[in-house]
């Protein structure tokens, strides 16, 4: 069964001149359980809007979204879904531990259990030694790990990622890809990953969906059958990326 199912979704945004901007046109998307699906497209193709629609932050004008087979409007278990943004969005007045705990505070998890799960999750992303560090004391890669831990601490079933590593150095980005794949193997969540980087999509995803802009529509869906771990510099990855880039 698909964990996320997007069915002929269209979205318009009102513009200042009274016209409306057609952002998404008839999008169909199927994310099977425990899959990693990457949505690739140039900027302005509506990929973030699509993610916001899946997250229930934006309502589509046409079509609908099903989460675990339940229509989004009737879906209640929103806390089984977390969202990782392009910026790390760490609260500067909170330590790493407190930032990770943020996800559990909303869910009303009791304090002792909260502490235990935060410690566990920080260890999972390799940041045990930095539990009490403030964001400004951490490097970009570490901040990214804290943000990842914050979206994992609620043990989500669905993880939505909006270009979360695009601002990192290439070598650190590769490390983060390995981390995501390792943790996904461990926790078994389903991931929808938005990126403009075709190589990143090929390295991570089981399935890549290419969006074209104005209005955003699905141009191509490509299964990636290469075995993990995938070396971003290998010829297989390069070939897949080349094929996908043609439809961008």
């Amino acid at each position: 069964m698909s964990v996320v199912k997007v069915q002929s979704v269209s979205k318009w945004f009102p513009r200042r001149d009274g016209e409306s901007l057609h952002v998404l046109q008839n999008i169909d998307l199927d994310v099977p359980e425990k899959a990693i699906v990457a949505i690739v497209g140039a900027s302005g193709c509506g990929k973030s809007t699509l993610l916001n629609i899946i997250a229930g932050l934006v309502t589509p004008d046409r079509g609908c979204v099903f989460l675990n087979g339940v229509k989004a409007s009737a879906f209640e278990d929103w806390r089984s879904l977390t969202y990782m943004f392009q910026e790390d969005r760490l609260l500067p007045w909170r330590t790493a531990t407190q930032n990770v705990a943020f996800g559990l505070e909303a869910a009303g998890v009791a304090r002792p259990e909260r502490r235990e799960r935060v410690t566990e999750t920080l260890a999972l992303v390799g940041l045990s030694g930095f539990a009490d560090a403030y964001p400004h004391e951490l490097s970009g890669g570490m901040r990214s790990r804290v943000a990842l831990a914050r979206s994992l601490v609620t043990r989500p079933q669905i993880l939505l990622m909006d270009e979360p590593f695009s601002k990192l150095d290439p070598s650190i980005r590769t490390q983060m890809h390995d981390e995501v794949l390792r943790i996904k193997e461990l926790m078994g969540m389903t991931i929808v990953f938005v990126t403009h980087d075709v190589e990143e999509a090929v390295v991570l995803a089981d399935k890549v969906v290419v969006l074209n802009p104005r209005p955003g529509r699905v141009r191509e869906t490509q299964e990636i059958r290469l075995p993990y771990p995938r070396d971003p510099l290998s010829p297989d990855v390069a070939e897949q990326a080349r094929l996908l880039r043609r439809s961008l």
Binding site: A55, L57, W78, R79, T82, Y83, F85, E87, R89, L91, P92, W93, R94, T95, F102, G103, E105, A106, A107, G126, L127, S128, G129, F130, A133, Y134, H136, E137, L138, S139, G140, G141, M142, R145, T154, D169, I172, Q175
Partner: protein
């Protein structure tokens, strides 16, 4: 940027130069010595000046010291001080509560904000002395006259800062809270309040100082006890040494408040800020 940690013990190298402990201590000692020299110089100038003036114009430091020791020993000293302090704190606390709550509400609703903006301007343009006269008419010789004046002086400052502060709240953080399905109350306490706190703190400190100063003016007009009343009595009787003694008491109290309460509180609340901003 430092490497991703392999061992938990890896130090955080942020690339900032580390201060040399010895140099910092030397500089502090030097500053303390300079401050002491400044104090001695001021006392010397005061002493010399007092020689050429009658005591009711400028009493000598020694005479003020004697007046101060008698003052502290007098039975009403602590009572007057306590009564004034209580009025300042009450007025300030009411101003802080009202300012934060209304500031947040006005910040949250654009319509309300635009509607009430002129009222705030009106309140800020009216001088504290005028508020004191109104207070005297409305409340007579009671604690509320002083409390009202402190409130009307401190409240607009705090309210304006909190209101402006709501505009500096990062929309990204609010969106983050929404993805975790946080309630409106949680967004307010976990995102809005921490964002506003540094601004609130600096404005509250300013507002407390203003409030404390105008409280004396209000007391001279509309109270039968308190520091302001004693100051006025001393001035009427040309007891200039008494005026000096009260003044020194107030200055010392404000300095103690700053060093013993505000500075440690600030350091504790805002230790998350970068060192560069603090120094």
């Amino acid at each position: 940027m430092s490497a991703v940690p392999v061992s938990p013990a890896a130090p955080v190298d942020d690339g900032r130069p580390k201060p040399v402990p010895g140099a910092a201590r030397d500089r502090r000692l030097k500053l303390a010595a300079l401050r002491l020299a400044l104090l001695v110089a001021l006392l010397a100038i005061w002493q010399v000046a007092s020689l050429g003036a009658p005591p009711f114009v400028l009493p000598s430091p020694m005479r003020v010291w004697e007046a101060w020791t008698t003052l502290v020993a007098s039975p009403t000293f602590w009572k007057d001080l306590g009564v004034t302090f209580e009025r300042i704190v009450t007025g300030f606390a009411l101003a802080a509560i009202f300012g934060v709550v209304v500031g947040l509400v006005l910040g949250a609703s654009k319509t309300l904000g635009e509607f009430f903006e002129p009222v705030l301007t009106l309140i800020t343009t009216v001088s504290s002395a005028i508020w004191a006269i109104f207070a005297l008419i409305w409340f007579g010789l009671s604690n509320w006259t002083t409390i009202f004046v402190v409130f009307m002086t401190a409240m607009p400052l705090i309210l304006t800062t909190v209101w402006q502060g709501t505009r500096t709240v990062n929309a990204d953080f609010v969106e983050l809270a929404r993805t975790f399905r946080m309630s409106q109350a949680q967004v307010l306490t976990k995102i809005y309040l921490p964002t506003i706190l540094p601004l609130f703190f600096s404005s509250a400190r300013l507002a407390f100082g203003f409030g404390a100063r105008v409280s004396l003016v209000a007391e001279t007009l509309g109270a039968s006890s308190g520091v302001g009343v004693r100051l006025k009595q001393a001035a009427d009787l040309l007891q200039t040494d008494q005026v000096f003694a009260w003044t020194l008491t107030l200055v010392a109290l404000m300095l103690a408040l700053e060093a013993l309460v505000l500075k440690p509180l600030e350091a504790r609340l805002f230790r998350w800020k970068k060192q560069a901003e603090a120094s």
